[in-house]
């Protein structure tokens, strides 16, 4: 919701376009629905996390606990997802609620506790991971029912379910941020917290909302992750928060708050996904891929900040 139509956003779309064209020329097999859907499936978990963390970044905060919450939620969901135990809805809701609780705690510590978001979520990162190990007793939680694992492997009218979930989440969040009162309050809080408070906005409430949504979406991502690996892994999601924040930041979300949006974040996630996928196709080792990814993240932010000045 930048009032100006950022040149940088166009730059992102252009960069994306260029890479797509280059890829299509070099490896024509990507010009297929099959490839597109596979790519989308691959970025869906990161996409959901990135949309969630966008909320937090918009308020000027950060959430480092995403990966650990993914693991915790996955373990919690898996625990309820054994065949014949409960209805399918139970593990899904349990995972999301686990994430929501973590997010709420983060929000509470940041607002009432006045602890810096970096530290607050760093603590949650460690604690949630620990909880995941406790609940799973250090072992992967396996023997999951088919309709649960089908959440990751299944299709809805030909579209992978995780992609559908990402689309729905993105649409709802975009509407919230762009058209709803509290969405506007989020931007105001991140843009100038002091002025937002002076305008009568409940800044603490806004931040609680942001961290809560981020946590809940991380819980959802954890459910999908557990479904995909057909186990609740306590060591799942390692470093997921960094990829999520990278996607949001490449997509134009400012680390100081007040700038960004769902659309940009999705583009950022897409860009990262395509680059990963391309590098895979060229058999670039994953070690090199990491170096390249790091350079892209810094490069994107640098360009963004130049554009602001």
């Amino acid at each position: 919701m930048n009032a100006r139509f950022s040149l940088r956003r166009y730059g992102l779309v252009v960069a994306l376009g260029v890479i797509c064209v280059a890829l299509a020329i070099a490896k024509p097999q990507v010009l297929s629905a099959q490839y597109a859907l596979t790519l989308l499936r691959q970025i869906s978990i990161n996409g959901i996390l990135a949309v969630g963390v966008t909320f937090v970044l918009l308020t000027g905060g950060v959430d480092l606990s995403l990966g650990s919450v993914v693991a915790l939620a996955g373990v919690v969901a898996a625990t309820f997802a054994h065949p014949g135990d409960h209805m399918l809805i139970v593990p899904i809701v349990a995972g999301i609620v686990a994430g929501l609780l973590c997010g709420t705690v983060n929000g509470g510590v940041v607002t009432k506790g006045r602890v810096a978001p970096f530290i607050a979520t760093l603590g949650m990162m460690t604690a949630a991971r620990g909880l995941a190990y406790i609940i799973s007793q250090g072992r992967p939680v396996s023997n999951l029912r088919d309709d649960f694992t089908g959440l990751a492997s299944g299709d809805l009218f030909g579209i992978p379910i995780p992609v559908v979930i990402l689309a729905v989440v993105a649409a709802l969040c975009a509407v919230f941020l762009g058209r709803m009162r509290w969405g506007r309050y989020l931007y105001a809080t991140g843009g100038n917290e002091t002025a937002a408070r002076a305008s009568g906005i409940n800044v603490h409430g806004v931040k609680l909302l942001a961290y809560g949504v981020c946590g809940a979406l991380a819980g959802l991502a954890g459910v999908i992750q557990a479904a995909r690996s057909t186990t609740g892994q306590p060591n799942a999601g390692l470093m997921y928060e960094l990829d999520a924040i990278a996607a949001a930041v490449i997509g134009g979300t400012s680390l100081s708050g007040g700038v960004g949006g769902v659309g940009g974040t999705l583009l950022g996630a897409l860009l990262m996904g395509i680059i990963s996928s391309s590098l895979d196709m060229w058999n670039v080792s994953s070690y090199y891929q990491q170096v390249i990814k790091g350079m892209i993240i810094v490069g994107a932010v640098w360009l963004d900040q130049r554009g602001r000045r």
């Binding site: 919701m1 930048n2 009032a3 100006r4 058209r179 709803m180 009162r181 509290w182 506007r184 309050y185 931007y187 105001a188 843009g191 100038n192 002091t194 002025a195 937002a196 408070r197 002076a198 305008s199 009568g200 906005i201 409940n202 007040g258 700038v259």
Partner: protein
């Protein structure tokens, strides 16, 4: 003549802060600079200290024209400043503060010769006649002692000109005497001291020469012997001021807001007043008298410690801005960049921010209603922008101020609080805002107008409260007072 300013001019967008100012400061003298807020004192000092450069004119040191690029450069050239708001390093020692940035080095590269540093610090403090240990941590010092350290710091730079900005505003009588002793000592050592202060009585005690600035121009410079308080005040204010453009006495209705013994020491204490429907209550005083803090308490931004706020006869709790807005109180802030605007957002979004609930259908924002509200505000206040979606940081100061105004007005307040509403705005926009204020009063709003600009207060108010050091010291009607009277009442004793 150690320091000279010739024909200095400096403008900021919309405002000419300095216009052809001259100043000559001699070695071994104390030269006072006096003027109301906005007269140009701070701008001139900022130029001397290298924080900004003049548009026109020249600065001469010992007769040679120089260019002062930044504070470090100023320090090297021998000009130092003791700021009103001291910013020491509280966790470091006195000596470390004094020599920050230019510590005496030992023969090993990068190593500080701490023994020499502490010895020199101790010696300087002795010379100034203070019994402070250079090893003490700064946070343990009283404000007056920190000030002395700041002066000593200037001496470590071999300063030849020391500028003191409102040095006595937070000092006791005894500490002021000690400071004056130090200043006289500096004078004996052939340093030049530029003394900027509102306290005329003290200024006349310590100064050798006095320069009076008004509206960015140099009015007069003369020896202390030729002046007294009255003459200075008259020169600061400049001639009789007739409140012009005032319509006939407004008809004021019943009391809308009543404030009883509101206190938040030390900022303001025991403040009581009433405002009626259709009335403009002016609140004036020097900067630091507590106007902003008082208004901030009534608008819920920083609640008072004690006292009552009564709206329409009912005592109310105003401990958060949202509560104030609910009771019909809205404030147009003094510091629009910090409290008023979200600079990255558009005009439309800023203007509707406080009253956003009114333009919603359920949780969703109704774009049409929002656009209509923004357009209405633009028309009403004549805000100049390319369109309602323009980012506010691209608007001029005057238009930004109008946006803050509009934001408050859209909450449909009955009580409107204006804190320095025309600060930093060009003359044209000022006139428009005056017109808006008059119109709002005519519509029956109760308006509290805080301003240190005396002509503004005299023109717009029905009644004027004078605040001094946090207390209400007097109340006047514009017809029975003058700029000089107000200024005299506002000045600390």
């Amino acid at each position: 003549m150690v320091l000279q300013a010739r024909n200095i001019s400096k403008s900021f967008p919309g405002v000419k802060a300095l216009d052809g100012v001259h100043l000559s400061v001699e070695r071994g003298s104390v030269h006072a600079i006096v003027g109301v807020n906005g007269a140009g004192k701070s701008t001139l000092m900022r130029i001397f200290i290298g924080l900004t450069e003049p548009d026109d004119g020249e600065i001469l040191l010992d007769g040679i024209p120089v260019r002062i690029r930044n504070p470090h450069d100023a320090a090297k050239k021998g000009i130092a400043m003791v700021h009103q708001e001291l910013m020491p390093f509280p966790d470091l020692t006195v000596a470390e503060n004094m020599f920050m940035g230019h510590e005496p080095l030992s023969w090993m590269p990068g190593w500080v010769d701490r023994r020499r540093m502490y010895r020199q610090a101790g010696r300087l403090l002795d010379e100034l006649g203070v019994s402070l240990s250079p090893r003490q941590k700064m946070h343990a010092l009283r404000l007056s002692e920190m000030q002395v350290v700041e002066i000593a710091k200037s001496l470590t730079y071999q300063a030849r000109v020391i500028i003191m900005d409102e040095p006595t505003s937070a000092l006791s009588r005894h500490e002021v005497e000690r400071l004056f002793g130090i200043i006289r000592d500096l004078r004996r050592r052939h340093l030049a001291v530029i003394y900027v202060s509102h306290r005329l009585e003290e200024t006349l005690q310590i100064a050798d020469r006095v320069t009076i600035l008004r509206d960015g121009r140099h009015v007069v410079t003369c020896d202390r012997a030729e002046l007294d308080e009255d003459k200075i005040i008259r020169a600061m204010v400049g001639g009789e001021f007739r409140a012009f453009g005032r319509t006939a006495q407004r008809r004021c209705g019943d009391v809308l807001l009543s404030v009883e013994r509101l206190s938040r020491p030390p900022r303001f204490q025991d403040v009581s007043f009433q405002v009626r429907r259709g009335e403009v209550l002016g609140v004036t005083g020097l900067m630091g008298a507590g106007k902003t803090e008082l208004l901030s308490a009534i608008s819920g931004l920083t609640p008072a410690d004690s006292g009552r706020i009564i709206v329409r006869g009912q005592p109310v709790m105003v401990r958060r801005p949202a509560q104030a807005i609910r009771h019909g109180i809205a404030m147009v802030t003094e510091d629009r960049k910090t409290y008023g605007l979200v600079l990255g957002m558009s005009l439309k979004h800023n203007v509707t921010l406080s009253a956003l609930r009114r333009y919603c259908r359920g949780p969703m924002i109704d774009r049409h209603r929002e656009n209509a509200a923004a357009d209405h505000s633009i028309r009403l206040l004549r805000i100049q922008a390319s369109n309602r979606d323009q980012r506010v940081d691209q608007l001029s100061g005057g238009n930004q101020q109008k946006v803050v105004f509009a934001q408050s007005l859209l909450t449909e307040p009955d009580i409107l609080i204006l804190d320095e509403p025309t600060r930093g705005i060009d003359v044209a926009a000022k006139a428009q805002i005056y017109e808006i204020i008059a119109r709002l009063a005519a519509e029956g709003k109760a308006i509290i107008l805080a301003s240190s600009e005396l002509p503004e207060v005299l023109t717009l108010s029905d009644r004027i409260l004078i605040l001094r050091e946090g207390r209400v010291v007097a109340e006047r009607r514009p017809a029975e007072t003058s700029q000089e009277d107000l200024l005299r009442l506002a000045m600390p004793r």
